[in-house]
């Protein structure tokens, strides 16, 4: 997933960024409302984690503005305000989910994944692509009943392609979804990741699952 995290508490922001990156997600960070607004409009994110009380522009005002402008990116409000009225206000403003601090990291990620599944009309966390069965919740991949061990980055790459079967994704698109702005990947990072993933999901003697469309990018067959 490519995520935007808008949070003004530095320690929480950095910690979440590290944790999400460790789980294989690309995370961009903003520490105030105006910066977050610019970033949310400039890039396409799978989901946005938004704090309610932000310097510059209040989180709810930002959300109102996005929804009014037709920006439909799923938004998870992450806030210390735990009253029912506050939750109602948040969800009423256009938030897709609401999580109060303190929270469990695993719950945050699970909620974000659920938001992204809904966004791509895939309510089932289990994706079946060719011979592969990908459980996006349990983070497991099986081929013909056998588990395949993947790194977080490889899993994210496979999930990124599997969510768009038959659709060619360019290197830039994949890079944008796998790496945050601060990651600074090498120029061949995507090719290397694809190569590594291919080796693991398509052992010798089996049909390749990921195909290269020369000059265009990579595609996974349905």
């Amino acid at each position: 997933m490519k995520l935007l995290l808008i949070e003004d508490a530095p320690r929480l922001r950095e910690t979440l960024a590290k944790a999400l990156a460790r789980m294989g997600h690309a995370v961009d960070l903003a520490d105030d409302g105006p910066t977050g607004n610019v970033m949310a409009r400039a890039s396409r994110y799978d989901a946005i984690v938004l704090d309610r009380m932000l310097p510059g522009v209040d989180g709810l005002a930002l959300l109102h503005e996005w929804r009014a402008d037709g920006i439909g990116t799923p938004v998870l409000l992450l806030t210390a305000l735990d009253g029912v009225a506050e939750k109602v206000r948040g969800l009423g403003a256009g938030a897709d989910d609401y999580l109060t601090k303190p929270f469990d990291l695993a719950e945050l990620v699970a909620r974000l994944e659920a938001l992204v599944r809904r966004r791509y009309a895939q309510p089932d966390p289990v994706l079946s692509v060719g011979p592969l069965v990908i459980d996006t919740a349990a983070k497991t991949v099986r081929r013909n009943g056998l588990d395949i061990a993947l790194t977080a980055r490889e899993f994210s790459l496979l999930e990124c392609l599997a969510r768009r079967p038959g659709q060619v994704l360019s290197r830039e698109q994949i890079e944008g979804r796998l790496y945050g702005e601060l990651d600074g990947p090498l120029s061949n990072a995507v090719d290397s990741a694809v190569c590594s993933l291919r080796r693991k999901i398509s052992p010798p003697g089996t049909l390749p699952v990921i195909r290269t469309r020369r000059g265009l990018g990579y595609v996974i067959d349905p």
Partner: protein
């Protein structure tokens, strides 16, 4: 159940009934008195007519027969007289008492008059009928020889007709009273319903008020003048309740933010280190310790504030040297101020102060910390301390006059995002609470050039010092928000003399 309508109905019915009975009784008694008086007048007139019409003509006693008939003393008449001798025996009697008549009632026994004063009294005729009697000594005209000087006259008139008239009058009055009472109940209820319609409306409006709809207000315009003050007062209380609830909501929301954010940080950092041990670096743990320290400091402040507000702190006063007591906090504040290139200008007198050292330090440290933390880098903080006053002045460019109303609120911060660490917005609340415990007054004022001045004053020489009796102390300027023991909000409110800098 007590009901105004029920009670008013009953009380008005009882009052009206009493009024009717009293009026009826008054009418009846007056009429009875008048009728009795007229009856007596008639009786006396008849007696006088008899006396006037009697004379001794030759040797014969005569009474004009016309008078007999006219006065009803004739045969078949209903008035009676007898002229008796003092020694006993009837001398003359009216034809209506003719002895040969079978229905003659007879006068019966009448006491012999002892003097010449005429007397009226009630009695009974010989046949038992009630009658009014007139008795008087009687000296007939023409009695030159004095043979008839031992006579007395008895005139009697039955009162049966009079009593019947009075009974009829009483009956009519009673019937009229009962009819009026019966008609009065529905009339009173109808009028009460009309009169109480406004009360019913107000009651209905008030019952519709709910804690979750405190923004709603009653409409005094539709109420009668008697109920307008009620509506105004309820609206006033609603506004205060709404403000109080809003303050409570702000407190909860700010407290949640101040407590939950560091907790979330701690939990996330702990989870990160536990799941990916390579993240458990020295810096990571230092950040966790910093978060824990901030949380601890916040809880410490909250605890102090809670105890102060609940009166759970015992004030133990002792005499201290003012300058000496300020030396250490000023040194600490100076270190912090130096880091932000802020200069602290101090003017401390050599007085002694009688106070609780713990509360005094809480006031001083929080005021200094507040000033140093919120002043722009490179600016100057002024500290003044003298007899009965401790004041800290610092530039507050972002502060507005309206903010003074919230300055002492718990968790209030100018920045709605509540960004940054180490300032929860409790410092000035603690100052206010501690000053309140000591019986001191605290106030904040903002000058036109955005200089925030917070003053603490305590009794000195028998009273709170004012600007006038603080020689050399500059008058605090601008809008003032003062908080004596009982919180007051407003400009130049009680607690201090009004000051002006000619703005």
């Amino acid at each position: 159940m007590s009901s105004i309508r029920h009670r008013l109905t009953w009380s008005m019915c009882v009052a009206m009934a009493a009024l009717l009975i009293a009026t009826g009784a008054g009418v009846f008694l007056t009429m009875r008195h008048l009728l009795h008086a007229r009856f007596d007048e008639t009786l006396i007139a008849k007696a006088r007519a008899l006396i006037t019409a009697s004379e001794i003509d030759g040797k014969q006693f005569e009474i004009d027969l016309i008078v007999h008939e006219f006065a009803g003393f004739g045969e078949g008449g209903d008035d009676y007289f007898e002229i008796r001798r003092l020694a006993g025996g009837v001398f003359q009697s009216s034809p209506s008492l003719a002895a040969d008549r079978a229905d003659s009632p007879g006068i019966g026994h009448v006491p012999v008059p002892a003097d010449d004063v005429p007397r009226l009294f009630n009695g009974k005729l010989g046949d038992g009928r009630l009658a009014r009697f007139y008795v008087s000594r009687f000296y007939p005209k023409g009695d030159k020889k004095g043979r008839h000087q031992d006579l007395y006259l008895i005139v009697a008139s039955p009162t049966g007709a009079l009593l019947r008239d009075l009974t009829m009058l009483g009956t009519v009055l009673c019937a009229a009273a009962v009819a009026a009472l019966l008609l009065m109940v529905p009339v009173i209820r109808r009028n009460l319903n009309l009169g109480l319609r406004a009360v019913d409306g107000l009651s209905s409006d008030v019952s519709r008020l709910k804690p979750e709809r405190l923004h709603e207000r009653l409409d005094p315009a539709k109420l009668p003048v008697e109920l307008k003050p009620v509506a105004f007062r309820i609206n006033e209380w609603l506004a205060r309740l709404e403000a109080s609830f809003e303050r409570e909501r702000r407190f909860s929301s700010h407290a949640a933010h101040e407590l939950r954010t560091p907790l979330a940080e701690l939990r996330s950092m702990a989870e990160l280190a536990a799941r990916w041990p390579e993240e458990a670096t020295r810096e990571h743990f230092e950040a966790m310790v910093a978060a824990t320290g901030e949380l601890g400091a916040l809880l410490e402040k909250l605890s102090m504030l809670g105890r102060a507000d609940a009166g759970g702190i015992t004030v133990v006063s002792e005499s201290m040297d003012l300058a000496e007591s300020l030396a250490q906090p000023l040194a600490r504040a100076g270190d912090k101020a130096a880091g932000r290139e802020i200069r602290i200008e101090r003017r401390v007198g050599d007085e002694r102060i009688e106070t609780d050292p713990v509360l005094w330090m809480a006031i001083v440290q929080n005021l200094l910390d507040n000033a140093v933390s919120h002043s722009p880098p490179g600016s100057m903080v002024q500290v003044e301390a003298g007899a009965g006053l401790f004041a800290v002045t610092n530039p507050a460019p972002g502060l507005e006059t309206a903010d003074l109303d919230h300055l002492f609120e718990q968790f209030w911060r100018k920045d709605p995002a509540r960004a940054g660490y180490g300032h929860a917005g409790l410092g000035l609340s603690i100052v206010r609470a501690c000053a309140g415990l000591l019986g001191w007054k605290c106030a904040a004022s903002l000058s036109g050039d955005h200089l925030l001045r917070i003053e603490i004053r305590w009794p000195c020489d028998g009273g709170f010092p004012t600007d006038r009796n603080l020689p050399g102390m500059p008058a605090s300027a601008g809008i003032r928000h003062s908080l004596p023991n009982n919180e007051t909000v407003g400009r130049d409110s009680h607690g201090f003399d009004s000051t002006s800098d000619g703005r």
